[in-house]
Amino acid sequence: MTRTSEPVDGERTAATTTADPQPAEAPAARSETAAADRSGVPGAARGGRPRWEGRTIAVLFLAPALLTLAALVVYPILYTIWLSLHNADGSRFVGLDNYVTMFTAADVRKAITNNVIWVVVAPSLVTIIGLILAVLTERVRMATAFKTILFMPMAISFLAAGVTFRMVYDESPDRGAANAFAVAVHDMFRSPSPYHGTSVREGSLLVADADGALRTAGNVDANQPVLLPLVGLPEDRIPSAAAPAAATDAGQGLRGVVWLDFTRGGGGTAGVVDPTERGLPAMAVEALRDGAVVGRTTTAADGRFSFPDLTGDGYQIRLAGSNFTEPFAGVTWLGPSLVTPAIIGAYIWIWAGFAMVLISAGLAAIPRDALEAARMDGATEWQVFRLVTAPLVRPVLTVVFVTLVINVLKIFDLILVIAPESSQDDANVVALEMYRVSFGGGLDFGLGSALGVLLFLLVLPAMLLRIRSMRKGVS
């Protein structure tokens, strides 16, 4: 294969032959240089022609890799740079306009800020958690089983992990595991009131107070029952004890009725106790005079309440806020403010196992005698960890950290999958912005390429650092 491209030259042909695996079968007319080459005499290598030969061979062997590299790495880089200096469809040269746009557009600034947050927070957290897990799993029985389980998230594609976490963070406690947990914990300490969600019938006496209580707007007196109509209680939350509301009452003192002023199926009159409408039992009612509470009671099954001792006028009636405590709706994990931390959480879940495995390998390589010596000298476990273990695994930590920095700079898939469209802007990062302006509707390949170049420049230092540390590791 290679010979055909060589110049027709006896010596060179012979020299090429030396590369053959079976030199013994080569033609007898072998030149001295070739023989010298084979014998490995150093002087011969420095001679003109053999060096040429060596180089040719090197080039030939490297050619496939170099060509692949040129086609898949060098050309795209150059083409991206070229595109970044052109307009949306690459038809007009615009100089550095895209770069100016890039640093002035609010979207992109937000993306860069988020990238900074990611780079500062995610790699260090993952490394620290990985280190803790590595140290802990070293001490337990069945360490391999633990490590396997912790490493498992890496076996899942990021897309699938993203979809999973999208569900975990779902707003509704019925669907999202995170909110189901948050609500369960919250309700243990403060459960919702039976009448949450109800509100006053428009045009009635009641107005809402700031603390969620409902209060009569003006003063009421003890001459006739006070009608307090409420609406908006779902059918399935009406207490089973509720009896039809008492329409008339000829009792004594300050009294009234709290009822659900809605006739099922429609047809009732607003503000009037209609036949099928039900009272709201066990509602905490307070009577106020000049702002001070002068009486407390609760409603009966038919919604009636009374303060027999209170007569005359100048009262206000208040339905305590505790009747209407809203249930805890959970946390809006994927809303504008929490979306980035939430996605970083998912990222940690995926990568902590990976960091742990690498760091455990580093830990395993630490000479045991160093640790034992420290313990013999009376160091506590914490001191051993801080002064012996940590410095010895530092190179591994650096590798893990730098790898994660590079990875985090390019973060894209998790954000695209987890962040709902409405908060994608708030979770945006450079790689996602690059995709959005290029393909996601913007169709601005110039700006997209400029972002690509920015990303490349951001990754470059971390990459060089990593390559340097690799070299050091080898030597």
Partner: protein
């Protein structure tokens, strides 16, 4: 070495996608020997169709393609573009290997392609089929600069509000016909302890449909068309008025499921499940006819019995108007296979295949209405076929960056408006700023 290669390549994913032009190529079957353009025998030829559909819709469409394959002998390959059809087509175009035929939902995108010369005008047998089967209003909608490019295969009636009958019965309300009645119904539902409306604000496109329906009724069709072309600024009083009406509705207490922040987390598919699932969380859901198919797919309630729809209420005495949308078939090649498929897609035969499966409306006037599986869909289809006054979904008519995809300006700004539905004039100004930028770049 390989590490450098990997990192570099990954960091420059864009460049790879753009640069390695040939890589995206499918097998391009050249218009083989037989010159007979309208020949029915296309055996040995491969025609590639791309559309957004996946799942059930894809299966339904596959039946149409199978019928075509059976009729002509051609091999049909279906490519699902998912939500990002434009991204798929653009990268395929950049790679020099577009599909033969694509069904594209955004007329604005079709116009862009037509002006770039990427798609072929509809001529010959396909044009004849179009004339025979569609009303002039529909043909008008498929034209770009006086030349026919698109054949409306699947159309939508986006002016209907879906509701659950038992919720309405419980509250004792009837489907409204005017906006005032609509507001009253909403309030009564809330009083009955039923959450009135699910607004899937997590998907920005649903919000654009809200705006369009209000705007068409507030401003009328002429201004609507002008606004779509940005010949009318978004700061126009009619826009502000429409936004005000919309904002007042969204801001009504106990109306939008989950409040503003909850609505922004709610996706469209989830909203269908929330309203038409086992335990309804809301009584009404506004979106197009395709909600019917989603309800059926969900399988909890029956369309036409428990799930019904009413026409979008008239605002200030506006007449019946329909905001429509549709997947139009356009041809990227004029190979015999592509032309034959375009002709087939314009035929009542193709429409009948898909109509029978439900969740599909055709604007084909020669399609037998008996093909539709139930009265609900028949009613939806009748109004679309007979409508003289049609307006395309406005956001689909605008450039992609403004109304055509995830993170498009109009989607984002209406989401902002849903989050804080009070400052109509402010949002109108922001929409105008975005429109200036996004329309200007074309």
């Amino acid at each position: 070495m390989s590490r450098v290669l990997r990192s570099g390549a990954a960091a420059l994913a864009t460049a790879v996608a753009l640069g390695a032009a040939g890589c995206g190529g499918g097998t391009e079957v050249p218009g083989s020997g037989s010159a007979a353009g309208s020949s029915t025998s296309l055996s040995g030829q491969t025609v590639e169709v791309a559309a957004t559909w996946s799942g059930t819709e894809q299966a339904n469409f596959q039946a149409v393609l199978d019928a075509f394959a059976k009729k002509t002998g051609a091999t049909v390959k279906y490519t699902s573009g998912g939500d990002d059809m434009a991204a798929l087509i653009n990268s395929r175009l950049a790679g020099g290997a577009p599909p033969d035929v694509a069904l594209i939902a955004q007329p604005g995108v079709i116009a862009e392609f037509a002006r770039k010369g990427a798609i072929k005008p509809v001529t010959g047998a396909a044009a004849t089929a179009m004339d025979a089967n569609y009303s002039p209003a529909w043909k008008q909608l498929g034209m770009v600069d006086g030349q026919l490019y698109g054949i409306p295969f699947k159309v939508a009636n986006k002016s209907v509000v879906w509701y659950r009958t038992e919720q309405f019965a419980q509250a004792g309300v009837q489907p409204p016909t005017t906006w005032e009645e609509f507001v009253t119904v909403t309030r009564t539902l809330a009083d009955a302890g039923i959450n009135p409306m699910a607004v899937p604000g997590g998907d920005g496109w649903t919000l654009t449909d809200w705006f369009e329906n209000v705007y068409l009724r507030v401003a009328g069709p002429e201004k609507y068309a002008q606004l779509a072309a940005h010949k009318l600024p978004w700061t126009d009083p009619t826009v502000v008025e429409a936004l005000k009406i919309l904002g007042e509705y969204w801001a009504m207490p106990r109306t939008v499921q989950g409040g503003s922040s909850g609505a922004l987390q709610l996706g469209f598919t989830q909203s269908v499940a929330d309203v038409f699932g086992e335990k309804p969380k809301s009584a009404m859901l506004f979106e197009g006819d395709f909600v019917g198919a989603e309800i059926t797919k969900l399988g909890k309630v029956k369309v036409g019995e428990t799930a019904k729809f009413f026409d979008w209420p008239s605002i200030k005495g506006s007449g019946p108007a329909v905001v429509t949308a549709g997947d139009q078939a356009v041809a990227f090649k004029d190979t015999p296979g592509a032309v034959a498929l375009m002709e087939f897609l314009a035929s009542p035969e193709a429409a009948a295949q898909m109509a029978a499966k439900g969740g599909f409306l055709s604007a084909n006037k020669n399609l037998d209405l008996a093909q539709y599986p139930d009265d609900t869909i028949r009613a939806l289809a009748t109004s679309v076929v007979k409508a003289d006054l049609l307006q395309f979904d406005l956001s689909d008519l605008t450039p992609q960056a403004f109304g055509g995809g995830t993170s498009a300006s109009m989607w984002k700004l209406l989401q902002d408006f849903l989050a804080a539905p009070t400052d109509a004039a402010g949002i109108a100004q922001k929409l105008e700023d975005a429109a200036k930028r996004d329309f200007g770049s074309k």
